[in-house]
């Protein structure tokens, strides 16, 4: 039995990850951003299914908080879980991307996210979602596939601009991606939670219901 599935197209990745995020309990808006991030991963040639499936597990099972609070001190924005528990990497990534837009490249300001479940995944979300995400300096160092809870600081004081031509080549080279079977199964597990059970009443609400094709 092979441990890979696919290749999966970017369109499939977008559809299945957005629906999986919704199935795991994310709001639709957050689910859209999960899909955008998944496609960004794939365009870098990275299989996003394993890290995303794990992050969705923690949203679904609720050990990590999806409710964040913001405080500001001396120009630094601090994001942390309202409940004091571990912060969801997905929610932290989306919210930090929004907050980064407010900072708007101010080199004297920074965002610090405390006790987040996978700082590296948050980094990836920021790079995927924020227009200036590829320009910011980030502090996470752990392997995205072996997440460890920790803190993350996002600053723009030492902007490192990526090699644009290299990035561009990479984007055009990846229109589909082989994913790990376990990661894909992890996405499908949550995806199935977004589907409505088939009943007789449900079948009647589909196009073509009751049709006998005699023409």
């Amino acid at each position: 039995m092979t441990d890979t599935f696919g290749p999966v197209s970017l369109s499939e990745l977008m559809f299945f990850t957005s629906r999986a995020a919704f199935g795991a309990g994310c709001s639709y808006g957050i689910a859209e951003d999960v899909a955008t991030a998944a496609v960004w991963f794939a365009k870098q040639g990275i299989d996003p299914t394993g890290p995303l499936a794990r992050a969705l597990d923690t949203v679904f099972d609720s050990p990590s908080s999806t409710e964040l609070q913001k405080s500001e001190l001396e120009g630094q924005i601090k994001l942390s879980a309202k409940s004091g528990s571990v912060t969801s990497a997905i929610y932290a990534g989306v919210i930090a991307s929004d907050q980064l837009a407010l900072i708007n490249g101010d080199k004297n300001r920074a965002i610090r996210i405390e006790n987040v479940e996978s700082p590296a995944l948050v980094e990836a979300f920021i790079k995927a979602l924020s227009p200036i995400g590829t320009l910011v300096k980030l502090s996470a160092s752990e392997d995205i596939n072996n997440p460890q809870t920790g803190d993350l600081t996002i600053s723009t004081d030492q902007v490192v601009e990526l090699n644009k031509s290299q990035t561009h080549t990479s984007l055009n080279d990846h229109h589909n991606i082989l994913v790990s079977q376990s990661g894909w199964d992890g996405i499908l597990k949550h995806f199935k939670n977004s589907l409505v059970e088939a009943t007789e009443a449900s079948r009647l609400s589909g196009a073509g219901a009751g049709l006998v094709d005699t023409d």
Partner: protein
Amino acid sequence: MATEQQKASKRIGKRPAAEILTLKKMGTSFSSRLSFMRNLIRKIHTQKWKLERREFNINSDGFGHAVYTAHTGERAYSLVVFTHDLPPEKRTDRVIAEAWDATFNLFDGIPSGDDIERLSQNTPKQEAGRFSQKELVLGRANKSLRMFATMLECLKAGQQPNIDDVAAVGYLMRTTAVYGSGKFGCADRSATDGRAEIQSSFHAEMLAVYLFRSFTIDLIDHIAKTQAPDTAVALDDTIKRFLGIGNSTGLGMAPFLLKHSKLMHQWVNLKEEALCRCRNQSVNPSAAKSKLQTLMPVALRHLDQWNVEDQTQTSDILKLRSDIHTFNHWINGNDTASNQYWNDIYIFAANNLCIEALSFIESLIIECNGDLVDELADQMFEAQGKDFDPTMSLSQIQDFLHTHYAWVDDIDFATDSNNAMFWYYSEEKLEPRFGSRAEVPGAELEMPLAIARDVVALKAAIKDLNQEITVADFLMEHDEFRHVVRRIQTVANYPYGEVYDNLISDETRPIDLLRFKLAFFGANKFDPKSSLWTRINMYQGAPLLDEILDVNPDSWAYPVKPEVNS
């Protein structure tokens, strides 16, 4: 003498989005010369693509595979089609079907023997197969049993089919799904970005269907000839040309449309631009009238031949025919001296005719002005642009709501009838469905298509907040509104990308959305089978494969029954 500024200020503008993107208006849409099929046929003709039947390995019962290739100059695209013996009990047009009379792909290039072998293992399985970057489109089709069988018997007996029988159906096969853009492992649309020949919306899908139409025509000739070699005759070219490809379209188109706001905006904006150019054009009224009068008889015959079983659509067609006859009398009896002839007839239609007739006249006006509008058809692809700005303040969101969503205030979502339905994906083959909240369990899993309801909720949520709060900070506390804020910001930049109506009312008819989209495809003869799905005809009257370079590519705007042997 008017200054340039004064002249500019008199220019007739595009119509407001909220006026033309209600379900009622969308549900009266007609194809136009900007439609994707029309544009593709023009493109094949003007760019002199070479179309060929490359392989035809079909047995005397009609089963096997075939390859049709379009050489565009720079590239080649091939239809690879497989035909199958379909047991009657498995015949259904629904998404949940598992077997079909024919299955096909549009292949990027010319397939090798290995490619065809690989596809033969996957294409017949459709959603259960896996595809590669070499496949741009996946589709399937079922025979029209009465048409196929009747026509085959006639040809085998050395006779042409009765044209009235042909007209009653209009096609030999109908597609029941044509998937593109990355479905089931096929190439993403982004994989072909920059290919001008298929850059406009759905051109790869439309090419697949056009080639498939040729296959169905060749198929019936082939079966007749191989089964009755001594007596069979080939189908008359005039009848071939009148055969299109049927299509059964269901609910999948609706979520697509609502999800692709920027694309929908582009389509509508360009069609509005076309209408605007026509209405603002200064013309010789006699020449313009003459052009219209040339087209009217065929347009009237086309409408006379549009007959369906659906009572609501039949009633609308009868009113349409009556109004278009009224219009015809008016243009024949009205010797206007106005050089704004096209605007004059638009105004007459808007003031005197039913909404379906007005939509028909809009397409008719565009049809008469190809030189002015045809270039727009090549721009029918999604605009690139930012669609979410977390730095925006709530007061700016309020401005957008006031400008683009004032209409939602007229809908009372506390009333059950306004909140009666929901859109969802079924666990059965992910079929999109539109069910009653009272009858179908699972409303908590609805797709985010209850836009008006969600906007109403957003309005209530932000009404009493500090209006200087940023979207970023608001959504940190209320992520349940993230999708709707994103949509509002998008629609502010792309106002023709919204449906200005309640999509979850007990009076919502999904086929209004389907007809709108299918008209942009270029479909004709909408034949609603319920409020959830419709049959249509594609490419009826279009040039045949072997004549397309030599004939007028725009002669099939209003296909009519040929006068042969009725």
